[in-house]
Symmetry: C2
Subunit: 216 residues, 2 copies
DNA sequence: ACATTGATTGACCGACTGGTTAAGATGGGA
DNA sequence: TCCCATCTTAACCAGTCGGTCAATCAATGT
């Protein structure tokens, strides 16, 4: 248990790294890779620029650290499902989780989107090694559901694209959504309204029924 | 008709402006606002930087010109529909057009997405003056279709978001899509495959039937 | 108590940024 | 033909970029 006993140095080290990562995440998402300068990030983290470069050797290094930090908590869900589960329930909860994430933590989604728009210069390897096997497994799962007559025939890839796009839209295009809805910010009730709308379209769209009554 | 008689100067002026706009559009979408420098744009357009700044006073001016240039051809469609039309047919063709645009001209979509992710610093006014009235009209149209019993009850805003997100995804996230589909580039047949998948989900999702048999 | 290691930071660097300027090339109307 | 407006472009500017460095500071093991 002696690894739990952290020295003061180790504590401030961790704290500073978290500070820098949070500041970098925010600014990279807001201003893009080139727009977020090291000095702006340092200022946001309330540290001297040289100190930021002490913890992360260079800008690329920091950018990759931010991406790594995000991907872990962002891509999960839909992982424990099997053929025997009810696709309506599984997909509904997957959509719901993605909507909650999009509304409550939009920054990672925006950062991911920026990366993709630029051709994924840093995430290409990650996509090949991690996303592709994951989607392959889900592809098979959905195919099995279709073969079992549990849902309509549809290309599973495009179904997953549809779920990702519709949910992440509320994070990436938040500005447009709020402007159209004429709101200053998302409210509690919006999460369920969005979830219901998306789930209604997509689930019925592949021959499933909404698993829950509309919660008021 | 004498305005048709262009002098040599006017011709090169137009040509250079088109050249610069095309180069800027490409680089702004690829590298973001800050990543695309004036010298890179000039190099891409094969002109000296000072010449680019002669035609467009400064970077902001050029950026806005690029956005203006895009929005005209990008946002149309769904405009001549009325309550008496068949929603299935109207929405199907709208989706189809958006998919074609996403696959064949992804750059404008990516530029628009970048703008949105950054909070639409330049497009906010445009959104208020142009997009909001447009979407208000479509909102009423869809509500009328619902009232006429032609389709399921659904919030028209979220339906439009779903159509925009699913279609534009194939432009903005092209890298991810191609990687998942294991292709080097979109092919002719992909347009109809994507259109069919999206239309199948969304139309059936709001209680409509695909208006055309799957074209082989 | 002290030496050693890690942490902090201001000053600095060359490269590049968006933008200006001024001098010359070009072409059209008189 | 000549003049004048438009166009072209190298040279230049101050400011910022990512990154380095060396001097100082703080904490730790002995």
């Amino acid at each position: 248990m002696q690894e739990k006993q952290q020295t003061k140095k180790e504590l401030t080290r961790e704290k500073n790294q978290r500070l820098i990562l949070a500041a970098a995440e925010k600014l990279f998402a807001q201003l893009g890779y080139d727009g977020a300068s090291m000095s702006k990030i340092a200022k946001e983290a309330a540290l001297p620029k040289a100190n930021v470069l002490y913890y992360f050797k260079n800008k690329d290094n920091l950018y990759e650290a931010v991406l790594d930090n995000i991907l872990g908590e962002w891509n999960l869900g839909l992982d424990n499902a099997s053929v025997d589960d009810d696709p309506a329930s599984v997909l509904y909860h997957y959509i719901k989780n993605k909507v909650i994430l999009a509304v409550e933590k939009p920054v990672p989604s925006r950062l991911f989107a920026s990366e993709m728009i630029r051709g994924a210069p840093y995430l290409q390897e990650y996509l090949k090694k991690s996303t592709r096997p994951w989607i392959q497994a889900k592809y098979n799962l959905i195919q099995d559901w279709i073969a079992a007559g549990k849902m309509d025939k549809i290309d599973p890839n495009h179904l997953l694209f549809a779920i990702w796009s519709t949910t992440q839209y509320y994070a990436d295009f938040q500005t447009e959504v709020l402007l159209v809805l004429d709101k200053p910010a998302y409210e509690q009730q919006d999460v369920s309204a969005i979830t219901q709308s998306i789930a209604q379209i997509i689930l019925k769209g592949v021959g499933l029924q909404l698993p829950e009554p509309i919660a008021q």
